[in-house]
Protein backbone atom coordinates (compact mmCIF):
# COMPACT_ATOMS: atom_id res chain seq x y z
CA UNK A 1 0.00 0.00 0.00
CA UNK A 2 1.33 3.40 -0.99
CA UNK A 3 2.04 5.92 1.76
CA UNK A 4 -0.10 8.61 0.15
CA UNK A 5 -2.35 9.34 -2.81
CA UNK A 6 -1.06 8.20 -6.17
CA UNK A 7 -0.89 10.63 -9.05
CA UNK A 8 -2.55 8.45 -11.65
CA UNK A 9 -1.91 11.05 -14.38
CA UNK A 10 1.74 9.96 -14.26
CA UNK A 11 0.92 6.30 -14.96
CA UNK A 12 1.45 5.02 -18.49
CA UNK A 13 0.05 2.11 -20.47
CA UNK A 14 1.54 -1.19 -19.39
CA UNK A 15 1.92 -0.17 -15.75
CA UNK A 16 0.36 -2.57 -13.25
CA UNK A 17 -1.62 -1.22 -10.33
CA UNK A 18 -2.97 -2.83 -7.16
CA UNK A 19 -6.51 -1.89 -6.23
CA UNK A 20 -7.96 -1.45 -2.73
CA UNK A 21 -9.98 -4.63 -3.34
CA UNK A 22 -6.72 -6.56 -3.71
CA UNK A 23 -7.19 -7.00 -7.44
CA UNK A 24 -4.40 -6.19 -9.86
CA UNK A 25 -4.82 -4.53 -13.25
CA UNK A 26 -2.67 -3.44 -16.16
CA UNK A 27 -3.21 0.02 -17.59
CA UNK A 28 -4.42 0.02 -21.19
CA UNK A 29 -4.71 3.77 -21.64
CA UNK A 30 -4.83 6.92 -19.57
CA UNK A 31 -7.19 9.80 -20.43
CA UNK A 32 -5.07 11.99 -18.15
CA UNK A 33 -8.06 13.49 -16.37
CA UNK A 34 -6.62 12.52 -12.97
CA UNK A 35 -9.78 10.65 -12.13
CA UNK A 36 -9.85 7.49 -14.27
CA UNK A 37 -7.57 5.00 -16.00
CA UNK A 38 -8.55 2.28 -18.46
CA UNK A 39 -7.11 -1.04 -17.24
CA UNK A 40 -7.45 -4.80 -17.72
CA UNK A 41 -7.74 -7.05 -14.67
CA UNK A 42 -4.95 -9.59 -14.30
CA UNK A 43 -6.13 -10.91 -10.96
CA UNK A 44 -9.20 -10.39 -8.79
CA UNK A 45 -9.39 -12.63 -5.72
CA UNK A 46 -12.86 -11.36 -4.73
CA UNK A 47 -14.32 -11.48 -8.24
CA UNK A 48 -12.45 -13.89 -10.52
CA UNK A 49 -14.87 -13.21 -13.37
CA UNK A 50 -13.27 -9.78 -13.82
CA UNK A 51 -9.93 -11.24 -14.90
CA UNK A 52 -9.30 -10.34 -18.52
CA UNK A 53 -11.97 -7.65 -18.54
CA UNK A 54 -11.15 -4.03 -19.32
CA UNK A 55 -12.76 -1.42 -17.08
CA UNK A 56 -12.41 2.18 -16.06
CA UNK A 57 -10.64 2.28 -12.70
CA UNK A 58 -11.38 5.16 -10.34
CA UNK A 59 -8.33 6.99 -8.94
CA UNK A 60 -9.34 6.39 -5.34
CA UNK A 61 -9.48 2.66 -6.01
CA UNK A 62 -5.79 2.56 -6.88
CA UNK A 63 -3.86 1.48 -3.76
CA UNK A 64 -0.38 0.96 -5.14
CA UNK A 65 1.77 0.76 -8.24
CA UNK A 66 3.70 -2.42 -9.00
CA UNK A 67 7.39 -1.57 -9.41
Amino acid sequence: MSDGPINIRALTAGTRVVLVSGAEAEIVSNPNDGVWIFARYVSAPDAPALVGQEEMIFAQDVADVRQ
Binding site: S29, P31, D33, V35, W36, F38, M56, F58, A59, Q60
Partner: protein, 463 residues
Protein backbone atom coordinates in the same frame (compact mmCIF):
# COMPACT_ATOMS: atom_id res chain seq x y z
CA UNK B 1 -46.13 53.67 -24.65
CA UNK B 2 -45.44 54.31 -20.95
CA UNK B 3 -44.31 50.99 -19.57
CA UNK B 4 -42.96 51.64 -16.10
CA UNK B 5 -44.17 49.17 -13.53
CA UNK B 6 -44.59 46.38 -16.08
CA UNK B 7 -43.24 42.96 -15.38
CA UNK B 8 -42.54 40.72 -18.36
CA UNK B 9 -43.30 40.69 -22.04
CA UNK B 10 -46.69 41.78 -23.32
CA UNK B 11 -48.14 42.22 -26.77
CA UNK B 12 -47.79 45.76 -28.07
CA UNK B 13 -44.22 46.41 -26.97
CA UNK B 14 -43.30 45.78 -30.59
CA UNK B 15 -45.74 47.91 -32.59
CA UNK B 16 -44.96 47.44 -36.25
CA UNK B 17 -48.03 49.34 -37.40
CA UNK B 18 -46.60 52.59 -36.04
CA UNK B 19 -42.95 51.51 -36.18
CA UNK B 20 -42.40 51.99 -32.45
CA UNK B 21 -40.67 49.57 -30.11
CA UNK B 22 -40.48 49.87 -26.34
CA UNK B 23 -37.08 50.11 -24.70
CA UNK B 24 -38.31 47.49 -22.23
CA UNK B 25 -37.47 44.68 -24.64
CA UNK B 26 -33.80 45.65 -24.31
CA UNK B 27 -33.46 46.42 -20.61
CA UNK B 28 -36.15 44.46 -18.76
CA UNK B 29 -34.75 41.51 -16.79
CA UNK B 30 -38.00 39.53 -16.86
CA UNK B 31 -38.34 39.87 -20.61
CA UNK B 32 -34.75 38.71 -20.93
CA UNK B 33 -35.52 35.62 -18.82
CA UNK B 34 -38.59 34.89 -20.94
CA UNK B 35 -36.70 35.15 -24.21
CA UNK B 36 -34.19 32.53 -23.05
CA UNK B 37 -37.06 30.06 -23.01
CA UNK B 38 -39.15 31.31 -25.91
CA UNK B 39 -36.43 32.40 -28.35
CA UNK B 40 -33.14 30.65 -27.57
CA UNK B 41 -34.55 27.28 -26.49
CA UNK B 42 -36.52 27.04 -29.76
CA UNK B 43 -34.28 28.59 -32.42
CA UNK B 44 -31.55 27.10 -34.55
CA UNK B 45 -28.28 28.39 -33.12
CA UNK B 46 -24.78 28.38 -34.59
CA UNK B 47 -22.46 26.14 -32.59
CA UNK B 48 -19.22 25.93 -34.54
CA UNK B 49 -17.41 24.75 -37.65
CA UNK B 50 -16.46 21.21 -38.55
CA UNK B 51 -12.86 22.23 -39.09
CA UNK B 52 -12.70 22.80 -35.31
CA UNK B 53 -13.41 19.10 -34.69
CA UNK B 54 -11.65 17.44 -37.58
CA UNK B 55 -10.54 14.27 -35.76
CA UNK B 56 -12.28 11.71 -33.52
CA UNK B 57 -12.17 12.94 -29.93
CA UNK B 58 -11.85 16.61 -30.95
CA UNK B 59 -14.11 19.00 -29.05
CA UNK B 60 -14.94 22.71 -29.02
CA UNK B 61 -16.83 24.22 -26.12
CA UNK B 62 -19.50 26.53 -27.46
CA UNK B 63 -22.65 28.24 -26.20
CA UNK B 64 -26.37 28.08 -26.93
CA UNK B 65 -28.04 31.07 -25.35
CA UNK B 66 -26.66 31.31 -21.83
CA UNK B 67 -25.70 27.66 -21.69
CA UNK B 68 -22.37 26.01 -22.26
CA UNK B 69 -22.40 23.17 -24.79
CA UNK B 70 -19.78 20.78 -26.12
CA UNK B 71 -19.43 20.30 -29.86
CA UNK B 72 -17.49 17.08 -30.37
CA UNK B 73 -16.70 14.29 -32.79
CA UNK B 74 -16.97 10.89 -31.13
CA UNK B 75 -14.60 7.99 -31.63
CA UNK B 76 -16.78 6.69 -34.48
CA UNK B 77 -16.65 10.05 -36.25
CA UNK B 78 -20.21 11.19 -35.45
CA UNK B 79 -20.77 14.85 -34.53
CA UNK B 80 -22.66 15.69 -31.31
CA UNK B 81 -23.66 18.73 -29.29
CA UNK B 82 -24.13 18.15 -25.56
CA UNK B 83 -25.10 20.33 -22.63
CA UNK B 84 -21.87 20.90 -20.72
CA UNK B 85 -23.31 19.87 -17.37
CA UNK B 86 -22.90 16.67 -15.38
CA UNK B 87 -26.15 14.78 -14.89
CA UNK B 88 -25.25 14.10 -11.24
CA UNK B 89 -24.84 17.61 -9.76
CA UNK B 90 -24.50 19.88 -12.76
CA UNK B 91 -20.79 20.69 -12.74
CA UNK B 92 -19.24 21.48 -16.13
CA UNK B 93 -17.69 18.30 -17.46
CA UNK B 94 -15.40 20.25 -19.78
CA UNK B 95 -13.65 23.47 -18.77
CA UNK B 96 -11.32 23.86 -21.74
CA UNK B 97 -12.01 25.90 -24.87
CA UNK B 98 -11.09 23.03 -27.19
CA UNK B 99 -8.93 19.91 -27.40
CA UNK B 100 -8.99 16.16 -27.90
CA UNK B 101 -10.12 13.63 -25.34
CA UNK B 102 -11.41 10.12 -24.78
CA UNK B 103 -13.76 11.10 -21.95
CA UNK B 104 -15.34 14.15 -20.33
CA UNK B 105 -14.84 13.71 -16.60
CA UNK B 106 -16.67 15.75 -14.02
CA UNK B 107 -14.16 17.05 -11.46
CA UNK B 108 -16.81 17.19 -8.69
CA UNK B 109 -17.64 13.51 -8.01
CA UNK B 110 -15.83 11.90 -10.93
CA UNK B 111 -18.68 10.87 -13.24
CA UNK B 112 -17.25 10.34 -16.69
CA UNK B 113 -18.86 10.47 -20.14
CA UNK B 114 -17.68 9.15 -23.49
CA UNK B 115 -17.42 11.42 -26.51
CA UNK B 116 -20.73 9.92 -27.62
CA UNK B 117 -22.29 11.27 -24.41
CA UNK B 118 -22.75 7.89 -22.73
CA UNK B 119 -22.15 7.69 -19.00
CA UNK B 120 -19.17 5.34 -18.78
CA UNK B 121 -17.65 5.94 -15.36
CA UNK B 122 -19.42 6.15 -12.00
CA UNK B 123 -17.20 6.03 -8.92
CA UNK B 124 -18.17 3.21 -6.52
CA UNK B 125 -20.75 1.93 -8.99
CA UNK B 126 -20.63 -1.58 -7.56
CA UNK B 127 -20.15 -0.60 -3.92
CA UNK B 128 -22.25 2.52 -3.29
CA UNK B 129 -24.79 2.16 -6.08
CA UNK B 130 -24.90 -1.66 -5.73
CA UNK B 131 -24.69 -1.74 -9.56
CA UNK B 132 -28.32 -0.56 -9.58
CA UNK B 133 -27.96 2.82 -11.32
CA UNK B 134 -29.15 2.61 -14.94
CA UNK B 135 -26.25 4.32 -16.69
CA UNK B 136 -28.12 4.44 -19.98
CA UNK B 137 -30.53 7.01 -18.49
CA UNK B 138 -27.85 9.41 -17.28
CA UNK B 139 -25.77 10.28 -20.32
CA UNK B 140 -25.05 13.89 -21.27
CA UNK B 141 -28.08 15.85 -22.45
CA UNK B 142 -27.94 16.07 -26.24
CA UNK B 143 -29.60 18.66 -28.47
CA UNK B 144 -32.88 17.65 -30.07
CA UNK B 145 -31.69 18.49 -33.58
CA UNK B 146 -28.31 19.02 -35.19
CA UNK B 147 -27.58 20.23 -38.72
CA UNK B 148 -24.32 20.43 -40.66
CA UNK B 149 -24.32 22.83 -43.56
CA UNK B 150 -21.25 23.49 -45.70
CA UNK B 151 -18.98 22.97 -42.70
CA UNK B 152 -21.04 24.93 -40.18
CA UNK B 153 -22.77 23.14 -37.30
CA UNK B 154 -26.14 24.32 -35.97
CA UNK B 155 -28.24 22.92 -33.15
CA UNK B 156 -31.73 23.25 -31.70
CA UNK B 157 -33.14 22.17 -28.34
CA UNK B 158 -36.68 21.87 -29.76
CA UNK B 159 -37.60 18.65 -31.54
CA UNK B 160 -40.68 20.30 -33.06
CA UNK B 161 -38.68 23.02 -34.84
CA UNK B 162 -38.51 22.71 -38.63
CA UNK B 163 -35.33 21.32 -40.21
CA UNK B 164 -32.50 23.84 -40.47
CA UNK B 165 -32.77 24.50 -44.21
CA UNK B 166 -36.51 25.07 -43.89
CA UNK B 167 -35.77 27.45 -40.99
CA UNK B 168 -33.36 29.33 -43.27
CA UNK B 169 -35.82 29.45 -46.15
CA UNK B 170 -34.87 31.81 -48.97
CA UNK B 171 -32.12 33.29 -46.81
CA UNK B 172 -29.90 30.30 -47.61
CA UNK B 173 -28.32 32.04 -50.59
CA UNK B 174 -27.04 34.82 -48.31
CA UNK B 175 -25.43 32.34 -45.92
CA UNK B 176 -23.84 30.66 -48.96
CA UNK B 177 -22.07 33.92 -49.75
CA UNK B 178 -19.86 33.42 -46.71
CA UNK B 179 -19.49 29.62 -46.86
CA UNK B 180 -18.82 29.11 -50.56
CA UNK B 181 -15.46 29.88 -52.09
CA UNK B 182 -14.79 33.33 -53.50
CA UNK B 183 -14.71 31.68 -56.92
CA UNK B 184 -18.18 30.22 -56.33
CA UNK B 185 -17.24 26.65 -55.50
CA UNK B 186 -19.46 25.20 -52.79
CA UNK B 187 -18.39 25.09 -49.16
CA UNK B 188 -14.78 26.18 -49.52
CA UNK B 189 -14.62 28.28 -46.36
CA UNK B 190 -12.27 27.37 -43.53
CA UNK B 191 -11.75 29.04 -40.19
CA UNK B 192 -8.75 31.30 -39.90
CA UNK B 193 -7.14 31.10 -36.49
CA UNK B 194 -9.08 30.98 -33.24
CA UNK B 195 -12.35 32.53 -32.16
CA UNK B 196 -12.23 36.06 -30.76
CA UNK B 197 -14.39 36.39 -27.63
CA UNK B 198 -15.22 39.45 -25.59
CA UNK B 199 -17.93 41.10 -23.50
CA UNK B 200 -20.02 44.17 -24.33
CA UNK B 201 -22.23 45.87 -21.73
CA UNK B 202 -25.42 45.88 -23.79
CA UNK B 203 -28.40 43.69 -24.58
CA UNK B 204 -27.74 41.13 -27.35
CA UNK B 205 -30.38 42.70 -29.58
CA UNK B 206 -28.36 45.89 -30.08
CA UNK B 207 -25.70 44.13 -32.17
CA UNK B 208 -28.30 41.81 -33.72
CA UNK B 209 -30.24 44.85 -34.92
CA UNK B 210 -27.13 46.58 -36.20
CA UNK B 211 -26.01 43.58 -38.25
CA UNK B 212 -29.52 43.06 -39.58
CA UNK B 213 -28.66 45.87 -41.96
CA UNK B 214 -28.20 49.21 -40.24
CA UNK B 215 -26.92 51.25 -43.16
CA UNK B 216 -27.90 54.43 -41.31
CA UNK B 217 -24.99 54.38 -38.87
CA UNK B 218 -22.12 54.71 -41.35
CA UNK B 219 -21.35 58.12 -39.90
CA UNK B 220 -20.08 56.24 -36.83
CA UNK B 221 -17.32 54.75 -38.94
CA UNK B 222 -16.27 58.00 -40.56
CA UNK B 223 -12.96 58.01 -38.70
CA UNK B 224 -12.15 54.48 -39.90
CA UNK B 225 -12.93 55.48 -43.45
CA UNK B 226 -10.61 58.47 -43.08
CA UNK B 227 -7.82 56.30 -41.70
CA UNK B 228 -8.23 53.89 -44.62
CA UNK B 229 -8.07 50.45 -43.00
CA UNK B 230 -9.44 48.83 -46.17
CA UNK B 231 -7.60 46.26 -48.30
CA UNK B 232 -6.68 48.87 -50.89
CA UNK B 233 -5.60 51.50 -48.39
CA UNK B 234 -8.72 53.60 -48.81
CA UNK B 235 -11.88 53.76 -46.72
CA UNK B 236 -12.66 50.48 -44.90
CA UNK B 237 -13.65 48.33 -47.88
CA UNK B 238 -13.27 48.24 -51.64
CA UNK B 239 -16.20 50.08 -53.17
CA UNK B 240 -15.52 49.64 -56.90
CA UNK B 241 -18.22 47.04 -57.43
CA UNK B 242 -20.51 48.26 -54.68
CA UNK B 243 -20.77 51.66 -56.30
CA UNK B 244 -22.24 50.26 -59.52
CA UNK B 245 -24.55 47.71 -57.86
CA UNK B 246 -28.07 48.12 -56.52
CA UNK B 247 -27.90 48.32 -52.71
CA UNK B 248 -30.83 46.47 -51.17
CA UNK B 249 -32.43 45.80 -47.83
CA UNK B 250 -33.80 42.25 -47.96
CA UNK B 251 -36.07 40.82 -45.26
CA UNK B 252 -37.46 37.29 -45.19
CA UNK B 253 -40.64 38.07 -43.26
CA UNK B 254 -41.74 34.62 -42.14
CA UNK B 255 -38.27 33.63 -40.93
CA UNK B 256 -36.84 36.72 -39.22
CA UNK B 257 -33.63 36.78 -41.27
CA UNK B 258 -32.53 39.94 -43.04
CA UNK B 259 -29.53 41.54 -44.72
CA UNK B 260 -28.04 44.24 -46.83
CA UNK B 261 -27.01 42.90 -50.20
CA UNK B 262 -25.60 44.34 -53.41
CA UNK B 263 -26.91 43.18 -56.77
CA UNK B 264 -24.59 43.67 -59.73
CA UNK B 265 -25.76 44.60 -63.21
CA UNK B 266 -25.82 41.81 -65.76
CA UNK B 267 -22.46 41.08 -67.42
CA UNK B 268 -20.59 43.28 -65.00
CA UNK B 269 -16.80 42.90 -65.03
CA UNK B 270 -14.67 42.63 -61.86
CA UNK B 271 -13.28 45.86 -60.48
CA UNK B 272 -9.84 46.35 -58.90
CA UNK B 273 -9.73 45.32 -55.26
CA UNK B 274 -7.16 44.35 -52.60
CA UNK B 275 -4.74 46.79 -54.19
CA UNK B 276 -2.36 46.82 -51.21
CA UNK B 277 -0.79 43.57 -52.44
CA UNK B 278 -0.40 42.54 -56.12
CA UNK B 279 -0.55 38.79 -55.37
CA UNK B 280 -3.70 39.16 -53.31
CA UNK B 281 -5.27 41.43 -55.93
CA UNK B 282 -4.54 38.85 -58.64
CA UNK B 283 -6.04 36.05 -56.53
CA UNK B 284 -9.32 37.86 -56.03
CA UNK B 285 -9.52 38.98 -59.64
CA UNK B 286 -9.11 35.36 -60.72
CA UNK B 287 -11.79 34.26 -58.24
CA UNK B 288 -14.21 36.94 -59.43
CA UNK B 289 -13.73 35.85 -63.04
CA UNK B 290 -14.31 32.19 -62.11
CA UNK B 291 -17.35 33.11 -60.06
CA UNK B 292 -18.99 34.79 -63.01
CA UNK B 293 -18.70 31.60 -65.06
CA UNK B 294 -20.78 29.60 -62.63
CA UNK B 295 -24.53 29.23 -62.90
CA UNK B 296 -26.68 29.90 -59.88
CA UNK B 297 -28.33 32.72 -57.97
CA UNK B 298 -25.23 34.05 -56.27
CA UNK B 299 -23.08 35.12 -59.18
CA UNK B 300 -24.46 38.66 -59.16
CA UNK B 301 -24.89 39.01 -55.38
CA UNK B 302 -22.33 40.65 -53.12
CA UNK B 303 -22.73 39.89 -49.44
CA UNK B 304 -22.99 42.55 -46.76
CA UNK B 305 -24.03 42.60 -43.08
CA UNK B 306 -26.95 40.32 -42.32
CA UNK B 307 -28.53 38.42 -39.46
CA UNK B 308 -29.89 34.89 -39.10
CA UNK B 309 -32.54 34.94 -36.40
CA UNK B 310 -31.91 35.30 -33.59
CA UNK B 311 -28.23 35.93 -32.91
CA UNK B 312 -25.94 35.03 -35.80
CA UNK B 313 -24.44 37.87 -37.81
CA UNK B 314 -22.96 37.48 -41.27
CA UNK B 315 -20.37 39.68 -42.90
CA UNK B 316 -19.63 37.68 -46.03
CA UNK B 317 -17.22 39.90 -47.90
CA UNK B 318 -14.95 42.51 -46.39
CA UNK B 319 -14.12 41.27 -43.82
CA UNK B 320 -15.48 37.71 -44.15
CA UNK B 321 -16.65 36.86 -40.66
CA UNK B 322 -19.50 35.38 -38.71
CA UNK B 323 -20.40 36.60 -35.22
CA UNK B 324 -22.62 35.15 -32.52
CA UNK B 325 -24.21 37.46 -29.95
CA UNK B 326 -24.39 35.23 -26.90
CA UNK B 327 -26.71 36.62 -24.22
CA UNK B 328 -25.11 36.74 -20.76
CA UNK B 329 -27.86 38.71 -19.05
CA UNK B 330 -30.18 41.54 -20.07
CA UNK B 331 -27.31 43.99 -19.89
CA UNK B 332 -24.34 42.02 -21.18
CA UNK B 333 -23.47 40.19 -24.39
CA UNK B 334 -20.56 37.87 -25.08
CA UNK B 335 -19.45 38.20 -28.67
CA UNK B 336 -17.78 35.34 -30.51
CA UNK B 337 -16.35 36.24 -33.89
CA UNK B 338 -15.22 33.59 -36.39
CA UNK B 339 -13.05 34.54 -39.39
CA UNK B 340 -13.14 32.72 -42.73
CA UNK B 341 -10.85 32.35 -45.74
CA UNK B 342 -10.89 30.17 -48.84
CA UNK B 343 -9.37 26.81 -47.90
CA UNK B 344 -7.27 26.68 -51.08
CA UNK B 345 -6.12 30.31 -51.01
CA UNK B 346 -2.34 30.88 -51.03
CA UNK B 347 -0.81 31.52 -47.63
CA UNK B 348 0.04 35.07 -48.70
CA UNK B 349 -3.66 35.74 -49.20
CA UNK B 350 -4.55 34.24 -45.82
CA UNK B 351 -1.90 36.32 -44.08
CA UNK B 352 -3.09 39.47 -45.82
CA UNK B 353 -6.68 38.78 -44.83
CA UNK B 354 -5.71 38.06 -41.22
CA UNK B 355 -4.15 41.50 -40.95
CA UNK B 356 -7.16 43.16 -42.56
CA UNK B 357 -9.66 41.24 -40.40
CA UNK B 358 -7.85 42.24 -37.22
CA UNK B 359 -7.74 45.88 -38.26
CA UNK B 360 -11.47 45.86 -38.92
CA UNK B 361 -13.18 43.43 -36.53
CA UNK B 362 -12.94 42.01 -33.06
CA UNK B 363 -12.33 43.76 -29.74
CA UNK B 364 -9.32 45.61 -31.16
CA UNK B 365 -10.79 46.14 -34.62
CA UNK B 366 -11.36 49.78 -35.40
CA UNK B 367 -14.81 49.40 -36.94
CA UNK B 368 -16.06 47.05 -34.26
CA UNK B 369 -14.91 49.48 -31.56
CA UNK B 370 -17.11 52.18 -33.08
CA UNK B 371 -20.12 49.88 -32.91
CA UNK B 372 -19.43 48.70 -29.39
CA UNK B 373 -19.26 52.24 -28.12
CA UNK B 374 -22.68 52.99 -29.60
CA UNK B 375 -24.32 49.85 -28.20
CA UNK B 376 -22.72 50.30 -24.80
CA UNK B 377 -23.96 53.85 -24.28
CA UNK B 378 -27.32 53.33 -26.00
CA UNK B 379 -28.06 50.50 -23.61
CA UNK B 380 -26.90 52.38 -20.53
CA UNK B 381 -28.93 55.45 -21.49
CA UNK B 382 -32.08 53.38 -21.96
CA UNK B 383 -32.20 51.74 -18.52
CA UNK B 384 -33.54 54.60 -16.41
CA UNK B 385 -37.17 54.95 -15.39
CA UNK B 386 -37.63 58.07 -17.51
CA UNK B 387 -35.83 56.64 -20.52
CA UNK B 388 -38.00 53.54 -20.46
CA UNK B 389 -41.13 55.62 -20.98
CA UNK B 390 -40.01 56.62 -24.45
CA UNK B 391 -39.95 54.10 -27.30
CA UNK B 392 -37.48 53.95 -30.14
CA UNK B 393 -38.72 54.76 -33.63
CA UNK B 394 -38.37 52.30 -36.49
CA UNK B 395 -40.49 54.26 -38.96
CA UNK B 396 -37.86 54.77 -41.67
CA UNK B 397 -39.25 53.38 -44.92
CA UNK B 398 -42.35 51.95 -43.26
CA UNK B 399 -44.73 50.77 -45.97
CA UNK B 400 -42.21 51.14 -48.80
CA UNK B 401 -41.00 47.54 -49.15
CA UNK B 402 -41.91 45.50 -52.21
CA UNK B 403 -42.25 41.74 -52.58
CA UNK B 404 -41.49 41.31 -56.24
CA UNK B 405 -38.22 43.19 -56.59
CA UNK B 406 -36.39 42.43 -59.81
CA UNK B 407 -33.35 43.99 -61.41
CA UNK B 408 -32.14 43.08 -64.88
CA UNK B 409 -33.68 39.64 -64.72
CA UNK B 410 -32.70 38.76 -61.14
CA UNK B 411 -35.61 38.39 -58.75
CA UNK B 412 -34.73 38.96 -55.09
CA UNK B 413 -36.70 36.96 -52.47
CA UNK B 414 -38.52 38.46 -49.51
CA UNK B 415 -39.51 42.05 -48.81
CA UNK B 416 -37.07 44.46 -50.42
CA UNK B 417 -36.32 48.14 -50.24
CA UNK B 418 -33.89 49.47 -52.84
CA UNK B 419 -31.74 51.90 -50.85
CA UNK B 420 -29.31 52.75 -53.65
CA UNK B 421 -30.64 56.29 -53.82
CA UNK B 422 -32.52 56.70 -50.52
CA UNK B 423 -29.52 55.45 -48.47
CA UNK B 424 -31.36 53.55 -45.78
CA UNK B 425 -34.51 52.03 -44.31
CA UNK B 426 -35.46 50.24 -41.13
CA UNK B 427 -37.21 47.34 -42.83
CA UNK B 428 -34.57 44.84 -41.60
CA UNK B 429 -35.04 45.90 -37.99
CA UNK B 430 -38.83 45.72 -38.24
CA UNK B 431 -38.42 42.24 -39.63
CA UNK B 432 -36.13 41.17 -36.79
CA UNK B 433 -38.39 42.47 -34.05
CA UNK B 434 -41.55 41.25 -35.74
CA UNK B 435 -40.17 37.73 -35.69
CA UNK B 436 -38.87 38.20 -32.14
CA UNK B 437 -42.36 39.19 -31.01
CA UNK B 438 -43.83 36.16 -32.75
CA UNK B 439 -41.48 33.92 -30.78
CA UNK B 440 -42.36 35.69 -27.54
CA UNK B 441 -46.08 35.20 -28.15
CA UNK B 442 -46.28 31.78 -29.81
CA UNK B 443 -46.70 28.74 -27.61
CA UNK B 444 -45.48 26.25 -30.19
CA UNK B 445 -43.60 25.88 -33.45
CA UNK B 446 -46.93 25.12 -35.12
CA UNK B 447 -47.81 28.77 -34.63
CA UNK B 448 -44.38 29.94 -35.78
CA UNK B 449 -44.31 28.03 -39.06
CA UNK B 450 -46.56 30.53 -40.76
CA UNK B 451 -45.30 29.54 -44.22
CA UNK B 452 -46.76 26.08 -43.83
CA UNK B 453 -50.18 27.69 -43.47
CA UNK B 454 -49.58 29.67 -46.65
CA UNK B 455 -50.06 32.92 -44.76
CA UNK B 456 -46.57 34.40 -44.82
CA UNK B 457 -47.50 37.56 -42.94
CA UNK B 458 -49.67 36.09 -40.24
CA UNK B 459 -48.96 36.94 -36.64
CA UNK B 460 -47.46 40.05 -35.17
CA UNK B 461 -46.59 41.63 -38.49
CA UNK B 462 -50.29 41.91 -39.27
CA UNK B 463 -51.30 43.39 -35.92
Amino acid sequence: MATNGMSGYRSGLVDLATGQISREIFVNDEIYAQEQERVFARSWLFVGHESQIANPGDFFVSRMGEESVILCRDRAGEVHVFLNSCRHRGMKVCRYDDGNTTVFTCPYHGWSFGTDGALVGVPYFREAYHSELDKTKWGLVEVAQLARYKGTVWANWDSSAPPFLEYLGEFRRFLDLILDGWDGREGQAELLGGVQKWLIPCNWKFPAENFSGDSYHNISHRSVDLVGVGPSGKSRRDYGELNVARKLHVAIPDRGHQTITYLLPKDHLPQPSYQNNPEVAAYFRHCEEERRKRPGPNTRLIGAPGEIFPNVALLPRQPRTLAVWHPKNAHQTEVWRFFFVDRDAPQTVKNFLRDYYIRYSGPAGMTEQDDMENWNYAHAASRGVIARRHPYTYEMGLGHAVEDYEYEGYRVPGRVIDITQIQSSEEPMRNLYGRWAQFMEADSWDELMTWRRNTPHAGIAAK
